[in-house]
Amino acid sequence: MSAASGRRNWLLDGLAQVGDAGLFLPTLLAAIPRSLRHFRETVRQLWFVGAMSLTLIMVCGLFVGMVLALQLYYVLSIFGGTAATGTVVALAVYRELGPVVTALLFAGRAGTAITAEIGLMRATDQLSAMELMAVDPVAYVATPRFLAGVISMPLLCCVFCAMAIFGGHLVGVTWLGIDNGTFWSNMTASVNVWTDIVDGVLYKSLAFGAVVTLIAVHQGYTTPPTSEGVAYATTRTVVASSIAILALDFMLTAFLT
Protein backbone atom coordinates (compact mmCIF):
# COMPACT_ATOMS: atom_id res chain seq x y z
CA MET A 1 0.00 0.00 0.00
CA SER A 2 1.47 3.33 -1.01
CA ALA A 3 1.07 6.45 1.09
CA ALA A 4 -0.91 8.12 -1.70
CA SER A 5 -3.64 5.51 -1.71
CA GLY A 6 -3.83 5.64 2.09
CA ARG A 7 -4.36 9.37 1.97
CA ARG A 8 -6.98 8.95 -0.72
CA ASN A 9 -8.86 6.39 1.33
CA TRP A 10 -8.86 8.78 4.26
CA LEU A 11 -10.22 11.55 2.07
CA LEU A 12 -12.85 9.33 0.45
CA ASP A 13 -13.81 7.98 3.85
CA GLY A 14 -14.36 11.48 5.20
CA LEU A 15 -16.40 12.51 2.16
CA ALA A 16 -18.49 9.35 2.43
CA GLN A 17 -19.21 10.17 6.09
CA VAL A 18 -20.36 13.68 5.19
CA GLY A 19 -22.56 12.37 2.38
CA ASP A 20 -24.00 9.63 4.55
CA ALA A 21 -24.83 12.10 7.32
CA GLY A 22 -26.44 14.37 4.74
CA LEU A 23 -28.61 11.50 3.52
CA PHE A 24 -29.48 10.65 7.12
CA LEU A 25 -30.94 14.14 7.69
CA PRO A 26 -34.08 13.66 5.49
CA THR A 27 -34.71 10.33 7.27
CA LEU A 28 -34.52 12.11 10.64
CA LEU A 29 -36.77 14.96 9.50
CA ALA A 30 -39.29 12.59 7.89
CA ALA A 31 -39.58 10.78 11.22
CA ILE A 32 -40.60 13.95 13.11
CA PRO A 33 -44.40 13.36 12.78
CA ARG A 34 -44.00 9.76 13.94
CA SER A 35 -41.70 10.74 16.79
CA LEU A 36 -44.37 13.10 18.14
CA ARG A 37 -46.20 9.99 19.30
CA HIS A 38 -43.24 9.49 21.64
CA PHE A 39 -43.29 13.12 22.72
CA ARG A 40 -42.35 12.14 26.30
CA GLU A 41 -39.10 10.79 24.91
CA THR A 42 -38.28 14.18 23.36
CA VAL A 43 -38.98 15.89 26.71
CA ARG A 44 -36.76 13.34 28.47
CA GLN A 45 -33.97 14.02 25.97
CA LEU A 46 -34.40 17.77 26.42
CA TRP A 47 -33.72 17.15 30.09
CA PHE A 48 -30.60 15.07 29.44
CA VAL A 49 -29.22 17.08 26.52
CA GLY A 50 -30.27 20.57 27.55
CA ALA A 51 -31.05 20.95 31.22
CA MET A 52 -28.15 18.76 32.36
CA SER A 53 -25.69 20.87 30.31
CA LEU A 54 -26.87 24.04 32.01
CA THR A 55 -24.37 24.06 34.88
CA LEU A 56 -21.40 23.60 32.53
CA ILE A 57 -22.67 26.29 30.15
CA MET A 58 -23.32 28.77 32.95
CA VAL A 59 -19.93 28.34 34.61
CA CYS A 60 -18.07 28.55 31.28
CA GLY A 61 -20.10 31.58 30.17
CA LEU A 62 -19.29 33.37 33.40
CA PHE A 63 -15.56 32.77 33.03
CA VAL A 64 -15.50 33.69 29.33
CA GLY A 65 -17.18 37.02 30.14
CA MET A 66 -14.83 37.64 33.05
CA VAL A 67 -11.63 36.93 31.12
CA LEU A 68 -12.82 38.98 28.13
CA ALA A 69 -13.51 42.00 30.34
CA LEU A 70 -10.12 41.62 32.02
CA GLN A 71 -8.20 41.39 28.74
CA LEU A 72 -10.13 44.16 27.03
CA TYR A 73 -9.80 46.48 30.02
CA TYR A 74 -6.02 46.44 29.79
CA VAL A 75 -5.94 46.78 25.99
CA LEU A 76 -8.55 49.56 25.98
CA SER A 77 -6.90 51.43 28.85
CA ILE A 78 -3.94 52.08 26.50
CA PHE A 79 -6.29 54.18 24.37
CA GLY A 80 -8.24 55.57 27.31
CA GLY A 81 -11.31 53.74 26.08
CA THR A 82 -12.14 51.47 29.01
CA ALA A 83 -15.74 52.70 28.82
CA ALA A 84 -16.13 50.53 25.71
CA THR A 85 -15.35 47.32 27.62
CA GLY A 86 -19.01 46.35 28.00
CA THR A 87 -19.68 47.02 24.32
CA VAL A 88 -16.81 44.87 23.10
CA VAL A 89 -17.62 42.04 25.53
CA ALA A 90 -21.24 42.04 24.34
CA LEU A 91 -20.40 42.19 20.63
CA ALA A 92 -17.68 39.52 20.83
CA VAL A 93 -19.89 37.18 22.85
CA TYR A 94 -23.06 37.65 20.80
CA ARG A 95 -21.47 37.42 17.39
CA GLU A 96 -18.81 34.75 17.87
CA LEU A 97 -17.87 33.39 21.25
CA GLY A 98 -21.35 32.66 22.55
CA PRO A 99 -22.57 30.38 19.74
CA VAL A 100 -19.15 28.82 19.02
CA VAL A 101 -18.08 28.04 22.59
CA THR A 102 -21.57 26.83 23.52
CA ALA A 103 -21.58 24.52 20.50
CA LEU A 104 -18.11 23.15 21.27
CA LEU A 105 -19.07 22.49 24.90
CA PHE A 106 -22.38 21.04 23.76
CA ALA A 107 -20.57 18.65 21.40
CA GLY A 108 -18.34 17.50 24.25
CA ARG A 109 -21.08 17.27 26.86
CA ALA A 110 -24.18 16.12 24.96
CA GLY A 111 -22.90 15.00 21.54
CA THR A 112 -20.63 12.33 22.99
CA ALA A 113 -23.39 11.06 25.28
CA ILE A 114 -25.79 10.74 22.34
CA THR A 115 -23.25 8.88 20.20
CA ALA A 116 -22.18 6.53 22.99
CA GLU A 117 -25.78 5.76 23.97
CA ILE A 118 -27.05 5.07 20.45
CA GLY A 119 -23.78 3.30 19.57
CA LEU A 120 -24.17 0.96 22.50
CA MET A 121 -27.79 0.34 21.52
CA ARG A 122 -26.51 -0.60 18.07
CA ALA A 123 -23.70 -2.78 19.47
CA THR A 124 -26.07 -4.67 21.79
CA ASP A 125 -28.68 -5.12 19.02
CA GLN A 126 -31.30 -3.04 20.85
CA LEU A 127 -32.07 -1.12 17.67
CA SER A 128 -32.69 -4.39 15.76
CA ALA A 129 -34.88 -5.60 18.63
CA MET A 130 -36.99 -2.44 18.33
CA GLU A 131 -37.43 -3.04 14.62
CA LEU A 132 -38.58 -6.61 15.39
CA MET A 133 -41.18 -5.21 17.77
CA ALA A 134 -42.36 -2.82 15.02
CA VAL A 135 -40.99 0.23 16.86
CA ASP A 136 -39.22 2.54 14.42
CA PRO A 137 -35.78 3.20 16.00
CA VAL A 138 -35.36 6.41 14.00
CA ALA A 139 -38.62 7.84 15.33
CA TYR A 140 -38.10 6.54 18.87
CA VAL A 141 -34.34 6.94 19.39
CA ALA A 142 -32.75 9.20 16.78
CA THR A 143 -35.30 11.96 16.08
CA PRO A 144 -36.15 12.84 19.73
CA ARG A 145 -32.43 13.35 20.42
CA PHE A 146 -32.05 15.44 17.27
CA LEU A 147 -35.06 17.60 18.16
CA ALA A 148 -33.84 18.01 21.73
CA GLY A 149 -30.43 19.16 20.48
CA VAL A 150 -31.88 21.65 18.00
CA ILE A 151 -34.23 23.11 20.63
CA SER A 152 -31.76 23.28 23.50
CA MET A 153 -28.75 24.82 21.68
CA PRO A 154 -30.30 28.32 21.19
CA LEU A 155 -31.58 28.26 24.78
CA LEU A 156 -28.18 27.22 26.13
CA CYS A 157 -26.51 29.87 23.98
CA CYS A 158 -28.78 32.58 25.41
CA VAL A 159 -27.94 31.46 28.94
CA PHE A 160 -24.23 31.43 28.04
CA CYS A 161 -24.39 34.99 26.66
CA ALA A 162 -26.35 36.28 29.65
CA MET A 163 -23.79 34.75 32.03
CA ALA A 164 -20.92 36.20 29.97
CA ILE A 165 -22.44 39.69 30.25
CA PHE A 166 -22.85 39.11 33.98
CA GLY A 167 -19.20 37.99 34.22
CA GLY A 168 -18.04 41.01 32.21
CA HIS A 169 -20.04 43.27 34.49
CA LEU A 170 -18.58 41.56 37.56
CA VAL A 171 -14.98 42.14 36.45
CA GLY A 172 -15.46 45.44 34.63
CA VAL A 173 -17.74 47.28 37.04
CA THR A 174 -17.39 45.55 40.40
CA TRP A 175 -13.67 44.82 40.27
CA LEU A 176 -12.01 47.26 37.85
CA GLY A 177 -14.35 50.14 38.60
CA ILE A 178 -15.85 51.08 35.23
CA ASP A 179 -18.92 53.21 35.88
CA ASN A 180 -22.07 51.10 35.94
CA GLY A 181 -24.12 53.53 33.83
CA THR A 182 -21.33 53.92 31.26
CA PHE A 183 -21.01 50.14 30.96
CA TRP A 184 -24.69 49.66 30.14
CA SER A 185 -25.32 52.81 28.10
CA ASN A 186 -22.32 52.20 25.82
CA MET A 187 -23.47 48.60 25.36
CA THR A 188 -27.06 49.50 24.57
CA ALA A 189 -25.91 52.24 22.19
CA SER A 190 -23.89 49.82 20.03
CA VAL A 191 -25.63 46.43 20.18
CA ASN A 192 -28.38 45.90 17.63
CA VAL A 193 -31.12 43.43 18.40
CA TRP A 194 -31.40 42.09 14.82
CA THR A 195 -27.83 41.89 13.60
CA ASP A 196 -26.34 40.81 16.92
CA ILE A 197 -28.96 38.90 18.89
CA VAL A 198 -31.07 37.33 16.12
CA ASP A 199 -28.39 36.81 13.44
CA GLY A 200 -25.59 36.15 15.91
CA VAL A 201 -27.00 34.31 18.87
CA LEU A 202 -30.15 32.66 17.50
CA TYR A 203 -29.40 31.73 13.87
CA LYS A 204 -25.90 30.54 14.54
CA SER A 205 -26.75 28.49 17.60
CA LEU A 206 -29.71 26.92 15.80
CA ALA A 207 -27.45 25.90 12.89
CA PHE A 208 -24.74 24.61 15.24
CA GLY A 209 -27.30 22.67 17.29
CA ALA A 210 -28.62 20.97 14.15
CA VAL A 211 -25.14 20.12 12.86
CA VAL A 212 -23.73 18.85 16.17
CA THR A 213 -26.72 16.62 16.97
CA LEU A 214 -26.92 15.38 13.37
CA ILE A 215 -23.28 14.29 13.56
CA ALA A 216 -23.75 12.76 17.02
CA VAL A 217 -26.89 10.83 16.12
CA HIS A 218 -25.49 9.71 12.76
CA GLN A 219 -22.20 8.55 14.28
CA GLY A 220 -24.05 6.57 16.93
CA TYR A 221 -26.51 5.13 14.47
CA THR A 222 -23.83 3.87 12.07
CA THR A 223 -21.34 2.66 14.70
CA PRO A 224 -19.58 -0.62 13.95
CA PRO A 225 -21.16 -2.92 16.60
CA THR A 226 -17.99 -3.39 18.67
CA SER A 227 -16.70 -1.70 21.81
CA GLU A 228 -13.84 -0.29 19.75
CA GLY A 229 -16.35 0.98 17.21
CA VAL A 230 -18.30 2.87 19.90
CA ALA A 231 -15.11 4.45 21.23
CA TYR A 232 -14.05 5.46 17.73
CA ALA A 233 -17.49 6.88 16.89
CA THR A 234 -17.51 8.97 20.09
CA THR A 235 -14.12 10.45 19.26
CA ARG A 236 -15.23 11.13 15.72
CA THR A 237 -18.30 13.00 16.96
CA VAL A 238 -16.12 15.49 18.82
CA VAL A 239 -13.59 15.89 16.00
CA ALA A 240 -16.16 16.21 13.23
CA SER A 241 -18.40 18.51 15.29
CA SER A 242 -15.53 20.85 16.15
CA ILE A 243 -14.44 21.15 12.52
CA ALA A 244 -18.03 21.56 11.33
CA ILE A 245 -18.78 24.26 13.94
CA LEU A 246 -15.74 26.37 13.11
CA ALA A 247 -16.09 25.99 9.34
CA LEU A 248 -19.83 26.70 9.45
CA ASP A 249 -19.18 29.69 11.71
CA PHE A 250 -16.98 31.27 9.08
CA MET A 251 -19.53 30.64 6.33
CA LEU A 252 -22.48 31.90 8.39
CA THR A 253 -20.58 35.04 9.36
CA ALA A 254 -19.71 35.67 5.72
CA PHE A 255 -23.35 35.24 4.65
CA LEU A 256 -25.05 37.01 7.55
CA THR A 257 -22.99 40.19 7.47
Binding site: R40, V43, R44, L46, W47, G50, A51, L54, G80, G81, A83, A84, A90, Y94, I151, S152, P154, L155, L156, C158, V159, C161, A162, I165, W184, N186, M187, T188, A189, S190, V191, N192, V193, D196, I197, V201, L202
Partner: protein
Protein backbone atom coordinates in the same frame (compact mmCIF):
# COMPACT_ATOMS: atom_id res chain seq x y z
CA UNK B 1 -43.60 13.22 42.50
CA UNK B 2 -42.97 10.45 40.03
CA UNK B 3 -39.70 10.54 38.08
CA UNK B 4 -41.37 11.27 34.73
CA UNK B 5 -43.09 14.33 36.22
CA UNK B 6 -39.82 15.68 37.60
CA UNK B 7 -38.18 15.31 34.17
CA UNK B 8 -40.95 17.35 32.64
CA UNK B 9 -40.78 20.00 35.37
CA UNK B 10 -36.99 20.30 35.06
CA UNK B 11 -37.24 20.55 31.29
CA UNK B 12 -39.91 23.22 31.58
CA UNK B 13 -37.69 25.16 33.97
CA UNK B 14 -34.77 24.87 31.55
CA UNK B 15 -36.86 26.21 28.66
CA UNK B 16 -38.17 29.07 30.81
CA UNK B 17 -34.63 29.97 31.87
CA UNK B 18 -33.48 29.96 28.24
CA UNK B 19 -36.26 32.29 27.18
CA UNK B 20 -35.70 34.52 30.20
CA UNK B 21 -32.04 34.84 29.15
CA UNK B 22 -33.12 35.70 25.59
CA UNK B 23 -35.52 38.38 26.83
CA UNK B 24 -32.78 39.82 29.03
CA UNK B 25 -30.30 39.93 26.13
CA UNK B 26 -32.78 41.44 23.69
CA UNK B 27 -34.25 44.11 25.95
CA UNK B 28 -31.53 45.07 28.43
CA UNK B 29 -28.31 44.92 26.41
CA UNK B 30 -29.41 46.21 23.00
CA UNK B 31 -30.67 49.49 21.60
CA UNK B 32 -34.20 48.31 22.44
CA UNK B 33 -33.45 49.41 26.01
CA UNK B 34 -33.00 52.99 24.74
CA UNK B 35 -36.36 53.32 23.05
CA UNK B 36 -38.25 55.85 25.03
CA UNK B 37 -41.21 54.32 26.83
CA UNK B 38 -44.48 56.19 27.25
CA UNK B 39 -46.24 59.10 25.56
CA UNK B 40 -44.11 61.53 23.61
CA UNK B 41 -44.43 64.77 21.65
CA UNK B 42 -42.52 65.63 18.52
CA UNK B 43 -40.15 68.54 18.01
CA UNK B 44 -37.78 69.28 15.13
CA UNK B 45 -34.47 71.04 14.61
CA UNK B 46 -32.60 71.96 11.42
CA UNK B 47 -28.86 71.43 11.53
CA UNK B 48 -26.15 72.44 9.07
CA UNK B 49 -24.47 69.12 9.74
CA UNK B 50 -25.53 66.23 11.95
CA UNK B 51 -22.21 64.36 11.71
CA UNK B 52 -22.60 60.73 12.71
CA UNK B 53 -25.95 61.19 14.48
CA UNK B 54 -28.15 58.11 14.07
CA UNK B 55 -31.87 57.45 14.39
CA UNK B 56 -32.50 56.27 17.95
CA UNK B 57 -29.75 58.47 19.42
CA UNK B 58 -30.65 59.98 22.82
CA UNK B 59 -31.86 63.51 23.38
CA UNK B 60 -30.48 64.80 26.67
CA UNK B 61 -31.00 67.81 28.84
CA UNK B 62 -28.43 68.50 31.55
CA UNK B 63 -27.16 64.98 30.81
CA UNK B 64 -30.51 63.37 31.56
CA UNK B 65 -32.19 61.41 28.78
CA UNK B 66 -35.51 63.03 27.85
CA UNK B 67 -36.21 61.44 24.47
CA UNK B 68 -34.74 60.05 21.26
CA UNK B 69 -34.17 60.92 17.60
CA UNK B 70 -36.90 59.39 15.44
CA UNK B 71 -35.96 60.60 11.95
CA UNK B 72 -33.17 62.41 10.10
CA UNK B 73 -33.95 63.76 6.64
CA UNK B 74 -32.57 66.38 4.29
CA UNK B 75 -34.85 69.36 3.72
CA UNK B 76 -34.67 69.88 -0.07
CA UNK B 77 -35.42 73.62 0.09
CA UNK B 78 -33.10 74.79 2.82
CA UNK B 79 -30.58 71.95 2.28
CA UNK B 80 -30.39 71.48 6.03
CA UNK B 81 -30.61 68.21 7.94
CA UNK B 82 -34.01 68.04 9.59
CA UNK B 83 -33.91 66.01 12.80
CA UNK B 84 -37.19 64.86 14.33
CA UNK B 85 -37.19 64.00 18.03
CA UNK B 86 -39.70 62.35 20.32
CA UNK B 87 -39.60 63.86 23.82
CA UNK B 88 -41.35 62.38 26.82
CA UNK B 89 -44.70 63.99 27.70
CA UNK B 90 -43.67 64.42 31.31
CA UNK B 91 -40.88 66.82 30.26
CA UNK B 92 -43.44 69.49 29.47
CA UNK B 93 -41.73 72.62 30.81
CA UNK B 94 -38.75 72.95 28.45
CA UNK B 95 -38.39 76.66 27.52
CA UNK B 96 -39.31 77.37 23.89
CA UNK B 97 -36.09 79.28 23.22
CA UNK B 98 -33.85 76.38 24.28
CA UNK B 99 -31.08 75.43 21.88
CA UNK B 100 -30.16 72.02 20.47
CA UNK B 101 -26.62 70.86 19.76
CA UNK B 102 -25.11 67.66 18.37
CA UNK B 103 -22.55 66.46 20.90
CA UNK B 104 -20.34 63.41 21.20
CA UNK B 105 -20.33 61.37 24.40
CA UNK B 106 -16.72 60.83 25.35
CA UNK B 107 -13.84 60.92 22.90
CA UNK B 108 -15.04 58.10 20.63
CA UNK B 109 -18.61 57.67 21.83
CA UNK B 110 -21.87 57.95 19.94
CA UNK B 111 -23.40 61.30 19.13
CA UNK B 112 -26.48 62.65 20.84
CA UNK B 113 -28.57 65.82 20.94
CA UNK B 114 -27.99 68.06 23.93
CA UNK B 115 -30.71 70.57 24.76
CA UNK B 116 -29.56 73.72 26.54
CA UNK B 117 -32.38 75.51 28.34
CA UNK B 118 -33.33 79.04 27.37
CA UNK B 119 -35.18 81.60 29.47
CA UNK B 120 -38.66 80.89 28.09
CA UNK B 121 -39.64 84.54 28.51
CA UNK B 122 -42.44 85.59 26.20
CA UNK B 123 -41.24 88.79 24.39
CA UNK B 124 -44.81 90.04 24.03
CA UNK B 125 -45.64 89.47 27.67
CA UNK B 126 -42.45 89.39 29.78
CA UNK B 127 -44.27 88.92 33.04
CA UNK B 128 -46.67 86.25 31.80
CA UNK B 129 -46.22 82.45 31.89
CA UNK B 130 -43.04 81.20 30.10
CA UNK B 131 -43.25 79.76 26.59
CA UNK B 132 -42.55 76.03 26.49
CA UNK B 133 -41.88 73.48 23.74
CA UNK B 134 -44.98 71.66 22.53
CA UNK B 135 -45.87 69.16 19.83
CA UNK B 136 -44.61 70.43 16.47
CA UNK B 137 -42.20 73.05 17.92
CA UNK B 138 -38.88 73.73 16.31
CA UNK B 139 -35.57 74.58 17.95
CA UNK B 140 -34.55 78.02 16.64
CA UNK B 141 -31.02 77.97 17.96
CA UNK B 142 -28.97 74.98 16.87
CA UNK B 143 -25.32 74.01 16.93
CA UNK B 144 -24.07 71.48 14.38
CA UNK B 145 -21.78 68.58 15.02
CA UNK B 146 -18.10 69.42 15.25
CA UNK B 147 -16.31 68.02 12.23
CA UNK B 148 -12.70 67.10 12.87
CA UNK B 149 -11.83 67.87 9.22
CA UNK B 150 -13.33 71.38 9.53
CA UNK B 151 -11.36 72.03 12.69
CA UNK B 152 -8.12 70.93 11.07
CA UNK B 153 -8.94 73.02 7.99
CA UNK B 154 -9.62 76.10 10.14
CA UNK B 155 -6.44 75.59 12.06
CA UNK B 156 -4.38 75.26 8.88
CA UNK B 157 -5.92 78.28 7.14
CA UNK B 158 -6.71 80.75 9.95
CA UNK B 159 -4.01 79.79 12.34
CA UNK B 160 -1.08 79.81 9.97
CA UNK B 161 1.43 82.63 10.57
CA UNK B 162 2.02 82.90 6.81
CA UNK B 163 -1.40 84.53 6.40
CA UNK B 164 -0.28 87.94 7.63
Amino acid sequence: MNPRRSFAAGTGLFILLGFAALVFLATQTTSVANNYQGDTYTVTADFMNVGQLKVGAPVKMAGVRIGSVTAITLDQKSLLAQVTMAIGKRFNAIPADSSAAVFTSGLLGDQYIAVKPGSGINPDDPTGPPLVLHDGSQFIQVQSALQLEDLIGKFLVDGSPAKK
